[in-house]
């Protein structure tokens, strides 16, 4: 009979742990800090667009940075990357439905033509 796997949450090794008690995999403490630092740097870059003229790249850059931050939090902090696919399906279904419904709603009111 196998025993519960020893927790591999050793900071600075692989950066990924197999939490024996919770079931879902995730990063180590150091891995989470790394993700948070990246998120903070992206936020700083976002704020810089308010002061620095990025020209035509302003809007696409902001949207891309927003999406990257969103996905990083969902994937690593909310563990969707390491969890069962059904959880991803349930969440992204709601998200895609919301985006679809409200893009249609805004299009109907000619929002994107302004």
């Amino acid at each position: 009979m196998t025993t519960a796997p020893a927790d591999a949450a050793v900071p600075g090794t692989s950066g990924v742990s197999d939490a024996a008690h919770g079931g879902s995999h995730g990063l180590t403490g150091r891995g989470y800090v790394r993700v948070a630092v990246i998120l903070a740097l992206i936020t700083a870059l976002e704020v810089s667009t308010y002061y620095v003229d990025f020209g035509p790249f302003f809007l696409p850059a902001l949207i891309i940075m927003m999406v990257v931050k969103f996905l990083m939090v969902v994937s690593y902090f909310m563990h969707l990357r390491f969890d069962h696919g059904l959880f991803s399906f349930l969440f992204y279904s709601g998200l895609v439905l919301a985006i679809g419904v409200y893009v249609a709603f805004l299009s109907t009111l000619h929002f994107f033509l302004r």
């Binding site: 009979m1 196998t2 025993t3 519960a4 927790d7 949450a9 742990s17 939490a19 024996a20 008690h21 919770g22 079931g23 879902s24 995730g26 180590t28 403490g29 989470y32 800090v33 993700v35 948070a36 998120l39 903070a40 936020t43 976002e46 704020v47 667009t49 308010y50 809007l59 902001l62 949207i63 940075m65 927003m66 931050k69 969103f70 939090v73 969902v74 690593y76 902090f77 909310m78 069962h84 059904l86 959880f87 349930l90 969440f91 992204y92 279904s93 709601g94 998200l95 439905l97 919301a98 985006i99 419904v101 409200y102 709603f105 805004l106 009111l109 929002f111």
Partner: protein, 203 residues
Amino acid sequence: MAEAALHGAAHGAAHPHTSTGLSNVKLGMWVFLGSECLLFGGLISTYMLYRGRVSQGPTPAQVFDIPFTSVSSFVLLMSSLTMVLAVSAAKLGDDRRTNLWLTVTALLGATFVGGQVYEFTAFYNEGLGFGTSLFSSSFYTLTGFHGVHVTVGIIMLMSLVGIFRRSRVPGSKSETVEMVGLYWHFVDIVWIVIFTLIYLIPV
């Protein structure tokens, strides 16, 4: 036999005896968060539609304080880090660190809400009431709803700390922390969207 029972208990949270083999609580939470996307999607869309509709009172560019809101955003972002550290500690069965990180998360959340109250007060003093314009109504409704979500999260975090101190947690303790964590991270990702679309993109 006893070893098998212990092994099963250790993995109870990971492989519950449900028809899907997954925790129904966790499934329910993800369905709830998916539905919350529709709620905030509606509020954000309404704001986007009305943000330029200022018949009287100040415009967004006149009232928004980007440096202040950037600091608030950073605080909320860091609260996601402390929350995930609390979840990690709970999974390892480290009650002391779990309580510590939950408390720090609640404090960071309270700082964010305090900043929002300060911001609303400053806007009001500059002549931006709830009914001043379509912009102000949609702005206060959107950010107010988000603030209420953060406040509910803080209440849940502090309740968890209190319940853990009395050791009255039914079921898996780590799963309970994880569920509150999912809610907290969701509130954070909603703010990521709000900060970019509402504050950083000019009208």
